[in-house]
Symmetry: C2
């Protein structure tokens, strides 16, 4: 029960607050949507719930966004705005690239289900453009051919997003993506692998332990290292005389 003060006779009331809720705006709709998403995940982000949190009806949102998809694009761009890319330091471009991918994943994962609709959108809104521009600046100091720079600028964010997407689903299933929270599940999976018939599953049973290793960012870092090492090998021309191994 809310505490009620003594009753105020109508004639003493303020002349009816201009509006108890602020006027609607795209800005306000987007921040409300992001807040709901952060608090309750994707299920909490419906047009109706956003409108409700703003004290209006869902139909009113359609004056500012064409549809839910467009609202999600704005939310994504707002999150991308948190991504700060440093000025290029050419002699350590590879480490800067890694730091950038790590930051992308961290920021996406910190906003719960944002990663789940971040994939496959070609982000062309303001903040995304700015981030791409600055990420390209770092990649270009590598000496890689332009097309390799362009593909890398696509693939690295895809890798960050895919990992953040997985993070989000782990968090959904276990209430958090902290390893200790889902360790029992991992242990169960490990036992399941170990208990498989070894004649039909010789590799899974033999590798059960490493397949279910659950050590923070190790797997993410492993893949990131593969990608960036590959880029470095393209940037560094093979030593004259020697030929790279291959088929």
């Amino acid at each position: 029960m809310p505490q009620l003060g003594p009753p105020i006779p109508p004639w003493q009331r303020a002349p009816r607050a201009p509006r108890s809720r602020p006027a609607l705006s795209l800005e306000l709709i987007v921040s409300t949507a992001l807040r709901l998403l952060d608090e309750g995940g994707m299920d909490a982000l419906s047009m109706r719930k956003v409108a409700d949190a703003l004290g209006t009806g869902a139909a009113s949102l359609y004056a500012y966004v064409a549809n839910k998809e467009e609202l999600l694009e704005h939310v994504l761009d707002r999150v991308i705005g948190e991504f700060e890319v440093p000025d290029p330091e050419p002699e350590r471009w590879a480490e800067q690239v890694k730091d950038g991918v790590r930051a992308m994943r961290r920021i996406l994962a910190s906003h719960r289900d944002v990663a789940r609709f971040a994939m496959a959108r070609i982000p062309t809104r303001g903040n995304a453009l700015h981030s791409i521009e600055r990420f390209l600046a770092i990649l270009r100091t590598s000496g890689l051919p332009d097309q390799a720079v362009a593909y890398a600028a696509d693939i690295l964010p895809l890798y960050a997003t895919a990992n953040a997407y997985e993070d989000a689903l782990w968090a959904e299933r276990f209430g958090s993506m902290q390893p200790e929270d889902y360790e029992p599940f991992i242990a169960q999976l490990r036992d399941y692998f170990k208990g498989l018939p070894a004649d039909r599953f010789p590799n899974i049973t033999a590798l059960a332990d490493v397949l279910t290793r659950n050590e923070g960012d190790e797997r993410f870092e492993f893949g990131l290292d593969l990608l960036v090492r590959g880029l470095q090998s393209l940037a560094t021309p093979p030593p004259a005389g020697a030929r790279p191994p291959g088929p």
Copy 2:
């Protein structure tokens, strides 16, 4: 129009087919769900629509699957069943790994929106287990350390799935993922990049052409090559003294 034979008088008909529709079964529910997904994408796959196609009500499905999520898992496993992994040929493991990742992407992309729920599920059902087992067999002939094999077995399917996910969204937006269907959109994006103020976006404007290059699988192959080359560099011990790499 199907060819109809001469009309058969009612008294010659079979004594009323035991049921005009076959009995429900998990098998039947899963194939119906996959058919609807292939035909109409994710929007066509609802519990109600699957039930409808089977001539029953949505509630009846819950005798066979706990919820929609479980149905999707079965659909995914059915699709994974199309994935055929060859026997290992140790001397060309890297090429076999690449072929495997290509096949994963191709199969996922051929089933429209399957990729959209394939991510981040740890597939432990029958077909998935079998595929993982055989993929591990190939990876283990590389000579990579066990943990690297295990991480690779996670990351490579993630890469295939993330790309197939993008394919699916392109197909959704443009009715197909054939490059010629969305070339106008790409051209528009290219012009947009080129028209940006060059002082604020020097890299995007300079790279507009390569950033919007749209040549089939090139980008996918580029990333796949980075990953597999990275694995090869881990498998081949560095040339201490004079170690000849390769076969």
